[in-house]
């Protein structure tokens, strides 16, 4: 069974919600990424989304755009991201890792080579931001066959028909974008998110993660009341950018922020725990 599914089952048994940090691979420096991944696990990450830097990240706000630029300036590439995953797996065989990025680097590598490379490196899921379900069959099928979960976004504007279609292709979890905007946008509306998640649940049993715009522990806790997983990206990446010159302090402060989110989440108990 895929590590992602196993992880969600374990969380459900203990009545906890998943905390999913996002960082961009190679930011601020390639050699800091694997230690940072381990630090995130230690601080309470259940799953990690590892961004594959792209020159034209059209769904990302300035924080993650700049992280991509920093990483690319250091020569980061899809190939090297797979190397980093392999490196991480040498000492962590448990934590699910999801690659998040854009399609063109995968097109250039070739779908077959990418799927095999991701599987062999120990990648558990792939979220390709600019690959909607209409165009996804050629990549999602082989990923799934290789045991790597194709992960998809849902938006506030996604119709019921689209949700059903996406849920059919998706594995692992569904990633609900909490607002109309790019990563790192301003405040999200918790009540709206709750309503939309309830509607999505009528179409699928997959766990639902929520991301875009979750910056602090109180928001994370509020979202955890209604979602199965909380994704935190720009808030962490912004800190990494600010403290790029001081890796020790960077690791400490990013871990501290994630720990605070972990504690906020753990005050929220999943209803499943009461009934299981």
């Amino acid at each position: 069974m895929n590590r992602i599914t196993r992880r969600f089952q374990a969380l459900r048994r203990t009545g906890r919600k998943a905390l999913i940090p996002y960082i961009t691979a190679g930011d601020p420096r390639p050699e800091l990424t694997v230690p940072m991944l381990h630090a995130l696990v230690e601080a309470g990450a259940d799953i990690i989304e590892l961004g594959v830097p792209f020159s034209d990240p059209m769904a990302d706000g300035p924080v993650i755009q700049q992280a991509c630029e920093r990483a690319l300036a250091q020569g980061m590439s899809l190939r090297r991201v797979l190397d980093l995953v392999r490196d991480f797996r040498r000492t962590d065989g448990e934590t699910p890792l999801v690659l998040m990025g854009y399609l063109n680097p995968i097109e250039r590598m070739g779908y077959d080579a990418f799927v095999a490379g991701a599987r062999d490196a120990g990648v558990d899921g792939v979220l390709t931001v600019d690959l909607p379900p209409e165009e996804a069959a050629e990549l999602a099928g082989p990923l799934d066959a290789a045991g790597v979960a194709p992960i998809f976004l849902l938006a506030p504007t996604s119709s019921g028909e689209r949700i059903r279609r996406i849920a059919q292709l998706a594995r692992g979890y569904l990633y609900y974008v909490s607002l109309k905007g790019v990563t790192g946008s301003a405040a999200l509306n918790v009540a709206e998110v709750a309503d939309k998640l309830a509607a999505i649940r009528t179409h699928t049993d997959l766990p639902l993660g929520v991301g875009f715009g979750i910056k602090d522990p109180p928001t994370a806790a509020a979202i955890a009341e209604v979602a199965d997983a909380v994704v935190v990206g720009s808030a962490l990446v912004a800190k990494m950018g600010e403290l790029a010159d001081n890796p020790e302090r960077m690791r400490r402060e990013v871990a501290a922020l994630l720990t605070a989110m972990r504690q906020a989440l753990d005050r929220v108990r999943a209803p499943a725990a009461l009934t299981d």
Binding site: F54, D56, A59, P62, N104, E135, S158, K180, G181, V182
Partner: protein, 403 residues
């Protein structure tokens, strides 16, 4: 008997030209594209919409544009007769306004109150700001800071017209980054905002919709040739940045297999130097800005910076229909260098008294190679996509003259 492709049937319902085109955007944009596509399908054949569009094109843009026989230049080149499709005579000085007039009418019918656009050279930005002023709509134009520096005149024109020019500081700080930023704006403001893409790129339905608005160029040229000479031209030539002026000229002739078609890309300092924007001549298929097409990217799939003396051709992608036409061999794509384009610029200026845009000068430069290989009774139609006033500073600077 050979199975002939009916080019009028492309793209298919999902926006594909063979393997190219499609819709490669984040889920956050899919509903907006669906809404746009529905509106487009509703109005593209709506008689009232078409009458309003034709009226605007006639009274506001100044269409039809002449098809001008460049006799002296033809004689000088000593081959085929050259006809210039005078898109430079449109209001605002280029073909770009054919598209913005059309998209603005659609925006109005969709009840949108805010227009956004990306621009490189500033021509599409000016054409967008122009229609926004006329309709009393708010207009935000995204432009890379590198281009803002290179195109001060057009930046000022946009501001005069009441548009906000929003500098883009990401990536290579040029057109491709402006397009990313406009898409980001659109995602956040889909309810009241209409995104006017300036070329036949982007996700479906943009490559189709922009082509249809630009195809007035080819429809007129075809009719003008038939009226004046009773026959079709032997060859068509147009420059290709994103590809809108080219597809606008080409499309109405695609089913006329006897008409040879040439798209001319920017070879910059020369393709072999790596400093160019010749996407079809030197790129590979990939995915950028919502569609699958040829791209200039490195071995890791990162989009690379392009170089051309003409800002309007400085784009690392190209419309997906051109990618398809290249692969199936219906059109040929070639490239000319900055130097050749500048020679074309001066040639036309001195020989015919017409100062062409540097973009269009690429098409002219190719004509200087093509015409002498043809007979004097053969005819070439070349798209003079814009006038060169905007480029005077660039040309002067290259000659060491400060204006």
């Amino acid at each position: 008997m050979r199975n002939k492709v009916d080019y009028s049937q492309f793209p298919d319902d999902t926006g594909h030209f063979g393997r190219y085109g499609g819709r490669f955007v984040a889920e956050t944009l899919m509903e907006a594209l669906h809404e746009l596509n529905e509106a487009w399908r509703t109005y593209r054949n709506d008689p009232e919409f078409l009458v309003e569009l034709d009226t605007d094109l006639a009274r506001y843009v100044g269409r039809p544009t002449p098809l001008y026989h460049a006799e002296r230049w033809s004689r000088r080149l000593g081959g085929a007769q050259i006809y210039l499709k005078r898109e430079d005579l449109n209001h605002t000085g280029a073909h770009k306004i054919n598209n913005t007039v059309g998209q603005a009418l659609l925006a109005k019918r969709m009840g949108k109150t805010r227009l956004i656009a990306e621009t490189g050279a500033g021509q599409h930005g000016v054409a967008s700001a122009t229609v926004a002023a006329r309709l009393g709509m708010e207009c935000v134009v995204y432009m890379g800071v590198e281009d803002i520096k290179r195109q001060a005149l057009n930046v000022y024109r946009m501001r005069l017209l009441g548009a906000t020019v929003q500098p883009v500081n990401a990536g290579s700080r040029t057109l491709k980054d402006a397009l990313n930023e406009a898409l980001r704006d659109w995602v956040a403001n889909v309810d009241d905002t209409f995104y006017m893409i300036g070329t036949v790129a982007g996700p479906h339905p943009y490559p189709l919709m922009v082509r249809e608005f630009q195809a007035v160029i080819g429809r007129e040229a075809r009719e003008q040739m038939l009226t004046d000479h009773g026959c079709l031209p032997d060859a068509l030539v147009a420059c290709v940045g994103g590809g809108s002026n080219a597809i606008g000229l080409f499309h109405p002739f695609l089913n006329d297999s006897e008409v040879a078609i040439y798209g001319v890309e920017a070879a910059g300092s020369g393709i072999e130097t790596g400093r160019h924007a010749a996407t079809l001549c030197a790129g590979q298929p990939g995915v950028l800005h919502g569609n699958r097409t040829y791209l200039l990217n490195d071995a890791d799939g990162q989009i690379v910076e392009t170089h051309s003396v003409s800002a309007g051709l400085d784009y690392p992608g190209v419309g997906p229909e051109h990618a398809w036409l290249k692969d199936i061999g219906r059109a040929r794509y070639v490239a000319v260098t900055d130097e050749e384009a500048l020679r074309g610029f001066h040639d036309l200026t001195r020989t015919e008294g017409i100062i062409p845009a540097l973009e269009s000068s690429h098409a002219l430069a190719y004509v200087t190679k093509l015409a002498p290989t043809m007979r004097p009774d053969q005819r070439i139609v070349v798209n003079l996509s814009g006038r060169g006033d905007k480029d005077i500073y660039t040309v002067a600077a290259l000659e060491g003259i400060q204006l």
